[in-house]
Symmetry: C2
Subunit: 140 residues, 2 copies
């Protein structure tokens, strides 16, 4: 059986935050949007249907928690979230991963999707640390 | 309590296919992609988190079934699906709805997202009827 490992395109564009029951939780390196990425630790998984039903239900709970964290980050960054965008695309990076993006009507891509649009605005180390702290507070 | 009704923007851009346990299943009126839309019948729901946990789990099953239908449509339309794109955006139409889009590397938007890109290619009445038949076969 192949061992699970993160796709290098995911590690290059995001920061590790926590290992949840099923997924790795990461913070997209883009200060334009509070943006979580969840990657289930299942080697070879590409589609949602590649997860067992019970795993999909765990993923739902993790998406829910990620959404609460994204909203908290939006408050901290003065980019208050008006709508969550939740998606599995995987056209560029097939490894199964879910985006939870905090959107607002004043953001640079609204109302269009964020993927492939414009240029990411990298986070400072202090922002990443604060985001990890916000997750720790939420998960406590 | 407000009564559930479909947003007119959804009815204008898609065809009714079936009433599932939780959601209305519809076919996006765009022959460029086999594309299902699921709208949970919960008045006022905007975010995934507006559904109870049990409802979210039913929605997962409906997304899974919609994905199998989209793949079957892709075969029927000679647009075989290489990757599903599953998303709740709602930036334009807040009523909670989930997209299940069949993508291929030869499609006009690949690898970018489909939303807001290009112009929809309306389906013929015969295509819509055949798609309903394909759902009925799958759901039997």
């Amino acid at each position: 059986m192949a061992e699970f490992g993160l796709d290098p395109r995911i590690t290059a564009s995001s920061h590790g935050v926590a290992s949840l029951a099923l997924s790795e939780l990461r913070l997209q390196d883009d200060g334009r949007f509070p943006w979580a990425v969840l990657i289930p630790r299942r080697a070879g998984a590409v589609e949602l249907a590649d997860l067992a039903r019970g795993e999909q239900q765990v993923l739902l709970d993790e998406i829910d928690a990620a959404g609460r964290w994204v909203r908290a980050l939006g408050e901290a960054w003065a980019l208050p979230v008006e709508k969550l965008n939740i998606a599995n695309l995987g056209n560029v990076t097939p490894q199964l991963h879910w985006h939870v993006v905090g959107r607002r009507s004043a953001d640079p891509c609204w109302p269009g999707p964020v993927w492939g649009q414009g240029t990411a605005d990298p986070l400072s180390p202090a922002q990443v640390e604060a985001a990890r702290g916000a997750w720790a507070t939420l998960a406590r």
